[in-house]
């Protein structure tokens, strides 16, 4: 189970001398700063039912243990989107000693919006003015002193990518955090009438609300109520006198609306933007017109209609190719190393303890065959995919992909951000499903995960190639892919119709090209990978042991009977083939390997040529069913972890049903030709 923020946030506070939270817009170099400040020991926690995560780690500064909480990158704090909610909740509950807000010097005005919200909430703030090097190249000079004066918080200039200014940043942050109350927290001043409304409401809150949520100031709560924040409206409503306060808030909000012709939350947002713009104008001098650099112009080709699509196809082909080749290379290396080095030791140990018994044979299925399975199937592809994903994220290309594919994805109830995980599914479903974390709603994640489960992964491709292409030619092999793709579209359209809720619209910032940082990419890859290994490996081990026990004790053969009506009658396959499909739950390509092995046992050496044992039609149906039905055990494990076991079970049941129906129909159609 993932670690809950409710337990992890207090934990890091008690474990360390002081805690700092890192906040900032997406793509401002926040994760670079986090990675450079902290070591490898990162805890990832989330709130139940939320997919956006909070990373935590510790750093040492001057012999002081500092807890660092990396908030999700967001444009604002609020209750309107999951990432904003998580970012705010983590600071409200975690109560860091200070918040470091990382600002992108190339787009200061927009970045200041969230800093102003933090000031409204009353947290001690340190601003890190990051990417100053790039801003300078664009002709933007920011006066850190003037900015600090206007904001009333310390400002440190940094270039996170090469670590410049980070020591100074931590020194200043520790200074602020260690001396609470040293610097008066000055909230930004809004327009006079808004300030008046805030003041009136603050007085009301001070006199009527005895237990202020999260110990926030009356002013902070007044602003949140005027903004009609659903969380805080709920929190105040449940308090004695809460109704009166809410009534006062809505009366004041109505006055603001009357005077300004727009709703109070809008008005406050507008004034905050205005304030951010004014502060920026005071601190910034534009030395020259921002000229567009060659790399920026080239980057624009990734979204232009006539160049974007070819670039996308090229990129997808290279991702797929890299995933396939790097993944299968790693797979062979890991598999061989295991077989050569560790496997004999483990087997030897098992035989030494249990002798030549059934127990030994069953045990070998687990620690030996099971781990080898995850080494050669899950891990190489997962590792490779995470690396590619981190690279794409770091350059900003992921957003270009989302932009171009949004239209197609919309038909499936998804939006552009689902494109990369779907393609990655062709390498291995496991990382692809974890990759759906880029999607914001559970509805989207369920649809995307279901579709990914249907995408033929490399192991299923191996079966299609080994059983169908080899014995029946490329046309039937191609036909399987076409059927599966048609099925993916049909399921996507169907789920979009059936599932409650609406597809959410795409609203996403498009970043200029950023040079990727290898250290950041490697660390990101490692954090995600580690998570996968700890979740999937135990389940693969357990699953292997159960199947091993069924096989070695011979109980598996009893299943031939109950399976035969479906396998023989409906799908037209030999009953023994049905058994191998059960083993495919462990590893999809195991089905084919076992088919060959079992055929040898049952029908003698002649059966090595599968055509003597099954005809082309049967091989086609077999590969088709194997491709569609039940994802492998590692995929099921990840589905369960990411979506919950109930949804995972439903998806698994649905794939079995689909495979049965489609396999049977294929058998019947080909039989009647």
């Amino acid at each position: 189970m993932p670690i809950s923020c409710h337990s992890a946030l207090p934990q890091i506070r008690t474990d360390t001398a002081l805690t700092l939270a890192l906040a900032g817009n997406p793509n401002v170099g926040k994760s670079s700063i986090f990675n450079q400040l902290t070591g490898m020991g990162v805890i990832t926690a989330n709130y139940p039912g939320k997919t956006v995560e909070v990373n935590m780690s510790t750093a040492t500064f001057d012999g002081l243990q500092i807890g660092i909480v990396d908030l999700p990158g967001t444009y604002a704090l609020g209750a309107v989107s999951e990432d904003q909610w998580v970012a705010r909740q983590a600071v409200l509950e975690g109560k860091p000693d200070a918040v470091v807000v990382i600002l992108d010097a190339t787009n200061l005005a927009r970045n200041l919006y969230m800093l102003l919200q933090f000031l409204d909430l009353g947290f001690p703030i340190i601003a890190a003015l990051n990417i100053v090097d790039q801003a300078k190249r664009q002709g933007i000079e920011t006066d850190a002193r003037k900015l600090a004066e206007a904001l009333g918080v310390p400002v440190v200039q940094t270039v996170a990518i090469n670590g410049k200014g980070l020591d100074e940043l931590v020194r200043v942050a520790v200074g602020v955090a260690r001396s609470p109350g040293c610097c008066e927290i000055r909230s930004p001043g809004y327009g006079q009438d808004i300030e008046r409304a805030i003041e009136l409401l603050s007085k009301e809150i001070e006199s009527k609300i005895t237990d202020r949520p999260y110990n926030l100031s009356a002013r902070a709560i007044a602003i949140l109520l005027l903004e009609n924040d659903p969380d805080f409206v709920g929190l105040i409503e449940s308090q004695p006198n809460g109704q009166d306060t809410l009534a006062a808030a809505s009366k004041l909000a109505a006055e603001i609306e009357r005077d300004h012709g727009e709703a109070a939350p809008m008005r406050i947002a507008r004034e905050r933007h205005g304030l951010a713009g004014t502060i920026t104008a005071q601190a910034e001098t534009i030395k020259r017109k921002p000229s567009s650099y060659l790399v920026d112009r080239l980057w624009q080709y990734t979204t232009a209609p006539w160049t974007g699509m070819p670039i996308l196809l090229l990129a997808l082909a290279s991702i797929f190719g890299f995933l396939f080749f790097a993944g299968s290379y790693l797979s062979t290396v890991f598999g061989d190393l295991w077989a050569a080095l560790l496997s004999p030791i483990i087997d030897g140990a098992i035989y030494f303890v249990f002798g030549q018994s059934v127990i030994s044979k069953i045990l070998i299925w687990g620690p030996d065959a099971g781990i080898q399975a995850s080494l050669s199937v899950g891990i190489p592809y997962v590792l490779t995919f995470y690396f590619i994903l981190a690279l794409l994220e770091d350059t900003g290309y992921l957003n270009s992909v989302a932009f171009l594919t949004d239209r197609i994805m919309h038909n499936l109830g998804l939006h552009g951000r689902a494109a990369i995980p779907l393609v990655a599914g062709a390498g291995c479903n496991v990382p692809a499903i974890i990759g759906t974390r880029v999607l914001t709603t559970m509805r989207e994640r369920v649809i995307a995960s279901f579709l990914i489960v249907l995408v033929p992964c490399s192991a299923r491709t191996a079966v299609i190639l080994g059983a169908v292409y080899l014995y029946a030619g490329w046309q039937p092999a191609m036909a399987i892919y076409l059927i599966v793709f048609a099925l993916i579209f049909a399921v996507g359209i169907g789920l979009n119709k059936l599932m409650p809720g609406q597809p959410t619209g795409l609203v996403m910032e498009m970043f200029p090209f950023r040079t990727p940082n290898l250290a950041t990419i490697i660390k990101k890859t490692w954090y995600r990978f580690k998570d996968f290994v700890f979740v999937a490996t135990p389940i693969v081990l357990g699953g292997s042991l159960v199947l091993g026990a069924l096989y070695e004790t011979g109980y598996i053969w009893y299943l031939t009977g109950p399976l035969s009506p479906v396998v023989e009658g409906w799908l037209g396959l030999p009953a023994v083939a049905g058994l191998t499909l059960i083993f495919a739950v462990l590893r999809k390509e195991l089905a084919l390997q076992l088919l060959v092995a079992l055929a040898l046992v049952r029908y003698g050496h002649d059966a090595q040529n599968l055509l003597l044992f099954m005809d082309a039609r049967q091989l086609f149906v077999y590969a088709l069913v194997n491709t569609i039905y039940i994802p492998c055990v590692a995929t099921i494990a990840v589905l369960g972890k990411e979506l919950g076991w109930k949804r995972a079970a439903l998806i698994v049941a649905a794939t079995v049903t689909l495979a049965g129906v489609i396999g049977g129909v294929a058998n019947w159609v080909m039989g009647s030709l």
Partner: protein
């Protein structure tokens, strides 16, 4: 020439027109904190001078001449606000009243100098757009953002409020009425739009963009 008092009335009517048209006399009285009889008297004067017309049910509407004058004043007011914050460094919450006085007394030469100095900024410190000299911002013809193509510029007029969460989210990004945007790119096959707001670029899906009503800015 218009007196400061006339100008105040024009501005107030203009502001109230943004909320509801036609404007009612009692709202005008509330807004300016004057008595209804003095409003009635002033309205007669404004009608005579062709700034204002009355509807059949005694509602108040600015004429084209009146609107142009009002927009000019709004522009002056907001330019002064920017001058006070950006050049004199006065806190932005304190500039409104001074700007109110300055806008009425400055000579055309001073106004021109102010414009040159500030290099035609897009918004006032409070985030309101500053109408351009020819008074672009009061356009009535609005179209969904999806009707525009790559390279076009537009002013957000309103965002439909069917989904308050989306509205609020867009507001945090700075996508609010009266803000200028530029459409940089439109994805093929009726895909999303790439929109530039300030220094940031956002991809907006069709379903989101269709809820944003804009008026095109023709340069």
């Amino acid at each position: 020439m218009t007196s400061a008092k006339v100008e105040e009335y024009l501005e107030a009517i203009h502001k109230l027109e943004q909320i509801d048209r036609p404007v009612r006399a009692h709202r005008l009285a509330e807004c300016l904190k004057v008595s209804p009889p003095s409003v009635a008297e002033m309205l007669k004067k404004l009608c005579r001078e062709g700034f204002v017309e009355r509807t059949a049910d005694m509602g108040i509407l600015l004429t084209e001449k009146g609107e142009k004058a009002a927009i000019g004043l709004v522009r002056q007011h907001r330019l002064w606000e920017r001058f006070l914050t950006d050049v004199l460094g006065i806190s932005w919450d304190k500039v409104h009243d001074d700007a109110c006085r300055l806008e009425h007394v400055a000579s055309p030469e001073v106004q021109e100098g102010l414009e040159k100095l500030l290099a035609n900024p897009d918004t006032c410190p409070h985030g309101h757009p500053i109408p351009s000299k020819d008074g672009v911002y009061a356009q009535q013809n609005t179209v969904p953002l999806t009707n525009l193509g790559a390279g076009q510029r537009a002013l957000i007029v309103r965002i439909s409020e069917e989904e308050p969460e989306m509205l609020h989210y867009l507001a945090t990004l700075g996508l609010i009425p009266k803000i200028r945007i530029k459409i940089e790119e439109v994805a093929p096959f009726r895909g999303p739009l790439l929109v530039k707001v300030g220094k940031a670029k956002y991809a907006l899906g069709r379903e989101v963009a269709s809820k944003i009503q804009v008026s095109e800015i023709v340069n």
